[in-house]
Subunit: 203 residues, 4 copies
DNA sequence: CATGAATGAGAATTCATTCAT
DNA sequence: TATGAATGAATTCTCATTCAT
């Protein structure tokens, strides 16, 4: 009865959803959550707004599902495999993280997630399930970098102080830049990362 | 019938407008331009929304006029008088500017202007007259700080490099933080400013 | 400042709301709740749909407020003063109630309330506050008629049996007719009421 | 390629359509025409909504065809064979009709038709072809009962008066109950039928 | 000047209908 | 046949803007 085998259909369906979620992440990140219109997501994904509702039940669900997907999708990205390269100093690894996170090819996504999380964090009356999620997702970045900060402090590379607070400041700066001026990273990326890391580097 | 002379009336009218513009700056800065509703401005100014339209013809005009007013109003504010205190080093003056600009009491306005400008800059299809304006207003910050950067480089306090670019990075970081997380400045302000200025300070 | 005294304005506002609520009762009654579009209410009230939302916050609130208003408005109507005329037999009073409730001039309202209540009663997942309300409003009819049924049974005019159940059947029939075929009452009303009351009259 | 002969295929096709129409009647009757979604019919029939459109070209056609089918299918049903049992008095036959029509097992269909017809009758701007149809279908009930009313009047069992009008009132009451409160028939059915027929019974 | 009533364009969501597979 | 993907018209609700008082 089914014209194609189930696997193919599921595959297709999954791709379609991914296509929409990818668009959603991009548009949400660019415009903020409230200002993102379903029509913008649909246009970016090159589908009708009706189809968006075929796959998702509401704007909120799109947001939620897209974030979830994006985090899962990129959790295991090579980005963080690199981070465990013990040949490189912690500060250098932080620089690499910064470079990867905001300049790598597929980064529209991970960059977007970062910005959306930031946008959500500043929302007042976030529904409980999203609060949880935002914390979980934000935690991902923190957990990836926190050990590097501590390690760097121990080795004297990074300035003293509450590592968590320092990390917080660093992430706030990064996400702020992304939100305000994503094009910032276009040119002289390495130089800019160098300047940013001066904030936390000893000497 | 006229209970007051013309001057008094003009005075009153001017105050009324200022009252609305002050509210507008605050609300625009807090919520972003698109998310600011006329009703929010009216409420903040404690007037009816109808009255807002008595003084201004559109939301855009409110924005435009309020920015214009705020910039003029604060151009000569003591904030920048301090900046010319030649007893203090350029880097110190930059720290003070940063402190003032984002944390001082009356700063609701100048801070607001900064954030709104930032918000406008990231808007894609800005009408031409606003583009002009944004540039003009943004210029204000640049002109205030640029001499200090150059001076600091000459005295060896600030790292070498294209002063304009350096200033650009610094302002991007500041405005990014304000846009993303205004509460950032609430606690430990001086310490945070200290960390931010490490980006550009020679050691 | 206010061009008219507060009382006049309140009066006007109240009339406007009543105008919309009157229309709402009519349209809800005619089309059922789900099928009633805001635009239908607006059209019936001869106002824009926007204005409807100026006075009410949602379709549900319109329904709720309109029912509340209608019940209050008509509770004390002369309709029920007549009912206590002790010169007339209970069965006769029931006939009069039936006549009044569905055929009298202003009845578009009370008739409407009856039908809407009926419509609501058959809704499955009614929000709690409406359940309460429906019961309260429905109770109104029951309380008005129940004593007459009991009295009629005592005097031998009305057939024996559980008075409450009998009343339930009678009201179900009435509301069913109203829902299905309001025009039913147009002609030969007295004769039709006569036939209906035969259901319960002892002979 | 054809695994079955033409006859078998036709048979299958016919069953499929019947399956959908049966579901349609049920769902239309339960929810009213406008509130019935294609998806509800498809679900009830356990087919995809796409298949519904394979057999029918529009929601209206489903309605029309289903009614047509249901009437034909049940015209000769035993329900009405019983009606011609001359051992039983006309009034008793009317009672039986009422019982059958609303409580018999297979009656989901004939009951449904009755309710849908009723629903259609109360629709304002019914397309012409449906008007015709509704009249034709409604006629079916009238033709079945009218002779019994006349007979009952002749034998003195049923009150005098215009038989057609009397029948109209009786049918209005029945259909009203079904539309408003189908659960009415659940309990004490015979007793309730007894009360309803009191409307028309002499003595 | 001042208020808030009134309007209508635009955004989220639902659902009949069409179409590719 | 059969499925469900895809589309777009229609509906609820929001909010900038205009207007009568």
């Amino acid at each position: 009865m089914a014209p194609q085998n189930k696997e193919q259909l599921d595959q297709k369906k999954h791709e379609r959803k991914a296509q929409i979620m990818r668009a959603a992440i991009k548009v949400f990140a660019e415009n903020g959550i409230k200002l993102t219109k379903i029509s913008m997501i649909a246009k970016e994904a090159k589908v009708s707004h009706g189809l968006v509702y075929h796959y998702f039940t509401s704007k909120d669900e799109i947001l939620y599902a897209s974030l979830d997907w994006a985090v899962e999708e990129h959790k295991s990205a090579k980005l963080f495999q690199e981070l465990n390269d013990h040949e490189v100093s912690p500060l250098e690894q932080i620089k690499q993280f910064t470079l990867f996170a905001f300049t790598e090819s597929d980064t529209e996504i991970s960059n977007g997630v970062f910005r959306i999380i930031q946008n959500l964090s500043s929302t007042n009356d976030l529904p409980e399930h999203l609060v949880q999620f935002v914390e979980k997702a934000g935690q991902f970045y923190i957990e990836s970098l926190y050990p590097l900060f501590v390690e760097g402090q121990n080795s004297g590379e990074i300035i003293k102080g509450d590592a968590e607070e320092l990390l917080g400041i660093y992430l706030t700066v990064l996400s702020g830049i992304m939100a305000d001026d994503p094009a910032f990273w276009k040119d002289n990326t390495e130089q800019k990362v160098g300047i940013l890391t001066r904030m936390i580097s000893e000497r």
